[in-house]
C-alpha cells in the first residue's frame, strides 16, 4: 500500500492537475483542514518536494528557503515578458489574497523568474508590485534558478521565437501551495475557478485551522 501511495503521490505531484491532484493527494494522505498543524510531508517517508535555495528578491535582498517560513507560500514560476499565462496566474494569486481579507496576511505570494537573463532585480521591482503589494519576485544566477526549479520539479526551457521577443520561455505554470513549515501541500490550476482555489487555500491560510 505504501508503494502504491508513493506512486500515486508522485503522479499527483509530477503532473499537477490542480484541484484533482490536490484531492487525490488529500485522500491518500488524509490531509484535512488540520493539515496545517500536521507533520511535514517528508516525515511520512514521502518523496521530498522543495529544498534549499538562494535567490535575490526584487528589493535586492538575499533570501533562502527559510525566509518565508511561518507564512503559507504561493509559489509561481514565470517570466515578465509572458503576456498571458503569467499575469493570469499573478492576478489569481492577488485576487485570492484580497478575498481572504485579514487572513491574507498569512499568505506570501512568490514569483520566481525562469528568465533571469532579462528579469533582473530592477525589472522585477517595476513589475511585481503592480500585481499585489505583498508579492515578492525572485531572481538569481542561472544555477540558482536551476536549483529551485529542480527542487520544485519545475520544467523550463528557453525557446527561440519568431516574435519580436527573440525568445520565450516554456515553463511549468502551476501555483504551488507551501505550508508554514515549508512543506508542499497542494497545487492550484490556472483553469480552476477562483472559488475552488480559495477553498483550497482557506484550509492552510488560518493559523490553527
Amino acid at each position: 500500500m505504501n508503494s502504491v501511495r508513493r506512486i500515486l503521490l508522485a503522479a499527483a505531484i509530477g503532473v499537477p492537475t490542480g484541484v484533482g491532484g490536490f484531492l487525490l493527494a488529500e485522500r491518500l494522505l488524509g490531509w484535512t483542514g488540520a493539515a496545517g498543524n500536521g507533520p511535514p510531508v517528508a516525515s511520512r517517508g514521502l518523496p521530498a518536494f522543495g529544498g534549499p535555495f538562494q535567490l535575490t528578491s526584487h528589493r535586492g535582498e538575499r533570501v533562502d528557503e527559510k525566509t518565508f517560513r511561518g507564512k503559507v507560500q504561493l509559489l509561481f514560476f514565470g517570466f515578465t515578458n509572458c503576456p498571458d499565462v503569467c499575469p493570469t496566474a499573478l492576478n489569481l494569486m492577488s485576487e485570492l489574497l484580497d478575498r481572504l481579507g485579514p487572513d491574507g496576511r498569512h499568505i506570501q505570494p512568490l514569483f520566481v523568474t525562469v528568465d533571469p537573463d532579462r528579469d533582473t532585480v530592477e525589472v522585477l521591482a517595476r513589475y511585481v508590485e503592480a500585481f499585489h503589494p505583498a508579492m515578492v519576485a525572485l531572481t538569481g544566477s542561472g544555477s540558482e534558478i536551476d536549483a529551485i526549479a529542480k527542487a520544485y520539479r519545475v520544467y523550463y526551457q528557453k525557446v527561440p521565437s519568431s516574435s519580436g521577443l527573440g525568445y520565450v520561455m516554456d515553463h511549468t505554470a502551476t501555483i504551488y501551495v507551501i505550508d508554514r513549515n515549508g512543506a508542499f501541500r497542494a497545487t492550484l490550476d490556472l483553469h480552476q475557478a477562483p472559488d475552488d482555489a480559495l477553498n483550497v487555500l482557506r484550509r492552510f491560510a488560518v493559523p490553527g485551522s
Binding site: 498571458d84 508590485e129 503592480a130 519568431s162
Partner: protein, 152 residues
C-alpha cells in the same frame, strides 16, 4: 397621402436591398479588452471575440496598433502543467461563426509597448483580413486586478 406611404415603403425597400447588396463587411469584433501592465512590462495582451457573419471564411492576417511596436497572434497551451506559447501567423474564422481570444488560449500579444497600458484607457487596433477588408477596434484596458485595486 397614399403616394407618400408608397414612396416611403419603396424607400425602405430600397435601403434593405442596398444593405443586402452592399460590399461584404469585415468580421465584427466584440468585447475587446486588455489588462493594465506594470511599468517594466515589454508585452501586453488583448482578448476579443471575432465574429464572421458572412457566408465565406475570413482570415485575420495581421494587426497593427498605435500602442505597440508589434502585435502578433499567439496560442498558449497548458499541457501536463507546462505552458507554451506559439506564434500563430493567422486566424481563420469559418463562415457564420466566431473565434474567441481569451486567457490561457488564443491571444493577441502586443510587443514593445510604447507606454504602459493604464486601466480605464482604450487603445486602437487595426485587424487586417485576407479578403483585403480591415476592422478598427477600440480595446478597453481593464485593471490587471479582478478586484479592481490599483496599487500605485
Amino acid at each position: 397621402m397614399n403616394f407618400v406611404r408608397t414612396s416611403l415603403a419603396a424607400l425602405v425597400l430600397l435601403r434593405i436591398t442596398a444593405a443586402c447588396a452592399a460590399q461584404p463587411s469585415p468580421p465584427n469584433v466584440i468585447d475587446a479588452w486588455s489588462r493594465s501592465t506594470p511599468p517594466s512590462a515589454r508585452t501586453g495582451v488583448v482578448y476579443m471575440t471575432i465574429r464572421n457573419e458572412s457566408p465565406s471564411a475570413e482570415t485575420a492576417t495581421s494587426v497593427e496598433s498605435e500602442a505597440a511596436g508589434r502585435a502578433e497572434f499567439h496560442r498558449t497551451t497548458l499541457e501536463a502543467g507546462v505552458a507554451r506559447m506559439v506564434a500563430i501567423p493567422r486566424i481563420e474564422i469559418p463562415p457564420r461563426s466566431e473565434v474567441t481570444l481569451e486567457p490561457n488560449g488564443l491571444h493577441l500579444m502586443l510587443v514593445d509597448l510604447r507606454r504602459p497600458l493604464v486601466a480605464g484607457a482604450t487603445i486602437r487596433l487595426t485587424i487586417r483580413f485576407a479578403s483585403g477588408l480591415s476592422r478598427e477596434v477600440d480595446v478597453q484596458i481593464r485593471s490587471s486586478r479582478p478586484s479592481g485595486h490599483t496599487t500605485h
